[in-house]
């Protein structure tokens, strides 16, 4: 489902003496349907960079990243937009929303974007918010004023609203209490059972051991960092 072939990444900082920083080189990675792969490696190894390349918000300088028949390295913006709407979900660590939009609509939006009728989309959003223990009295408020943990749970609800065939998870269990962590792990297991291919970053080792089928150490692809 997700296929990385000889992927490379450099940053060129034009305003800082045109420094060229080689971040990743020779990344090969393949994730099958229903499989969850963890990216590991020390801080600065390039886990988040690789994740952003797979989502397409970092440009890739070499190789191919294929997801559901689209090569993100070559694709036109509109192909990536469609891929993100229909195929590739991303749960980032931070919630970014239009201020003033109620939580319920924030969560339902990915479903509305693929044409699910409002009633069905809102029903799914309610059920997810309930599972993630967001109190009902908050649903009509914008999540911008919520606590960090609440925002993260809203972000997760939004990320799991549409059943994407491929998902990227950036620290989905960070800053959650035991009960909510359990809910998130169950959501991941459910998505896997439905055939979703997942790549995740988990600093929570027990969570990683439970939901991930394999680990890939990104430092192996980091020039100057490999042992």
């Amino acid at each position: 489902m997700i296929e990385l072939n000889n992927v490379a990444k450099t940053f060129t900082l034009h305003n800082q003496g045109s420094a060229v920083i080689e971040v990743l080189r020779g990344v090969f990675l393949s994730v099958a349907q229903g499989e969850c792969v963890a990216l590991t490696g020390a801080s600065g190894a390039g886990k988040s960079t690789l994740m952003r390349m797979i989502y397409g918000n970092y440009l890739t300088q070499g190789g191919a990243i294929r997801i559901g028949g689209v090569d993100l390295v070559q694709a036109e913006p509109r192909e990536i937009i469609r891929l993100r709407r229909e195929v590739l979900g991303y749960v980032s660590q931070f919630l970014r929303v239009v201020p003033r939009v109620p939580t319920l609509d924030v969560v339902a939006e990915p479903l509305r974007a693929v044409g699910v009728p409002p009633d069905a989309a809102l029903a799914r959003a309610r059920s997810l918010l309930q599972q993630l223990n967001i109190p009902e009295r908050l649903w009509t408020l914008s999540p911008t004023t919520f606590s960090g943990g609440e925002q993260q749970r809203v972000n997760i609800a939004r990320g799991f609203a549409h059943p994407y065939p491929a998902m990227l998870l950036d620290e989905p269990t960070a800053s959650l209490d035991a009960a909510n962590r359990e809910v998130v792990l169950a959501l991941i297991e459910e998505a896997k059972a439905q055939g979703t291919a997942i790549i995740g970053i988990f600093h929570d080792e027990a969570a990683r051991a439970r939901v991930c089928d394999r680990e890939i150490d990104v430092s192996g692809f980091t020039p100057g960092m490999a042992a």
Binding site: H14, N57, Y58, L59, E79, I81, R82, L83, A113
Partner: protein, 261 residues
């Protein structure tokens, strides 16, 4: 699973505009597909408003074409079509939201009249229908129905801007040009307007081109982004890619110059 739309709604081909020896915009080309929102950013004088006005038929470009996929005849170059044809297109299929609402409104006419006038321009004649539709649109842009007979001179800046949007969208256009739509509004009003625009774009399947210097606005509204400097496009791509991983020196400077809140 993935299929690609066959025809762009708007195809801009090598649009160039000079003001004497000075470059307004030079050799700009891109395709906009149905439902896409494209942001154009750059500092003042970078040519983004010149480009917008060339695309919307307000300024004749010196060179290049602006091909629009018309409902009746398919793709037509709007630069070479006759003035009446272009004017009809700008009433039926295009909308233009000005930075200053007073440029896009008739200040001596009531709010309902401002919206109704656009309907009459495309042939609506039944007074009751026009008034109902106008009231419905005022409601959609969150202007209270009790204000329908008031003139926009009595409205706040944010209300004027929302009225301008209602006036523009009432005829069901397919492409909306926006010139700094949130400029000059205070932040809470901006948020409300952004929320409104996003909902309208999604529910009506609109395509839009938004010129702004506010990177936060494009991140929330635009799918794609074009960065202009000195009349030329220096970088373009997915909005979050250009903002998170800018490639050109100028885009890097622009992104790194934003103050963190």
């Amino acid at each position: 699973m993935i299929h690609v739309d066959p025809l762009p709604l708007l195809s801009v081909q090598g649009v160039t505009k000079h003001y004497g020896a000075h470059i307004g915009c030079a050799d700009v080309s891109f395709d906009l597909y149905p439902g896409e929102v494209m942001g154009i950013v750059g500092e003042s004088g970078s040519g983004k408003s010149t480009l917008l006005n060339c695309m919307a038929g307000h300024l004749p470009p010196d060179a290049g074409g602006v091909v629009f996929d018309t409902r009746a005849d398919g793709p037509r170059d709007t630069v070479t079509m006759s003035e009446p044809e272009r004017r009809m297109l700008s009433r039926t299929d295009w909308a233009f939201v000005h930075q200053h609402a007073r440029d896009g409104l008739r200040m001596g006419v009531s709010a309902g009249g401002n919206v109704g006038e656009r309907l009459m321009a495309v042939g609506a004649r039944h007074y009751g229908d026009i008034r109902d539709k106008a009231t419905d649109w005022l409601d959609r842009v969150e202007i209270d129905a009790s204000r329908v007979d008031d003139r926009p001179t009595t409205f706040s800046g944010g209300m004027k801007q929302r009225l301008q949007i209602a006036r523009n969208l009432v005829t069901g256009p397919r492409l909306v040009f926006m010139d700094e739509p949130t400029g000059g509004l205070d932040v809470s009003v901006q948020a409300r307007l952004l929320d409104l625009l996003r909902g309208l774009v999604r529910d009506m399947g609109l395509s839009a081109i938004i010129v702004t210097h506010d990177l936060a606005v494009v991140r929330l509204l635009a799918d794609r982004l074009m960065v202009m400097k000195s009349g030329r496009v220096v970088e373009s791509g997915l909005t979050d890619q250009v903002l998170d991983d800018p490639q050109h020196a100028y885009s890097q400077l622009l992104v790194s110059s934003v103050l963190q809140v």
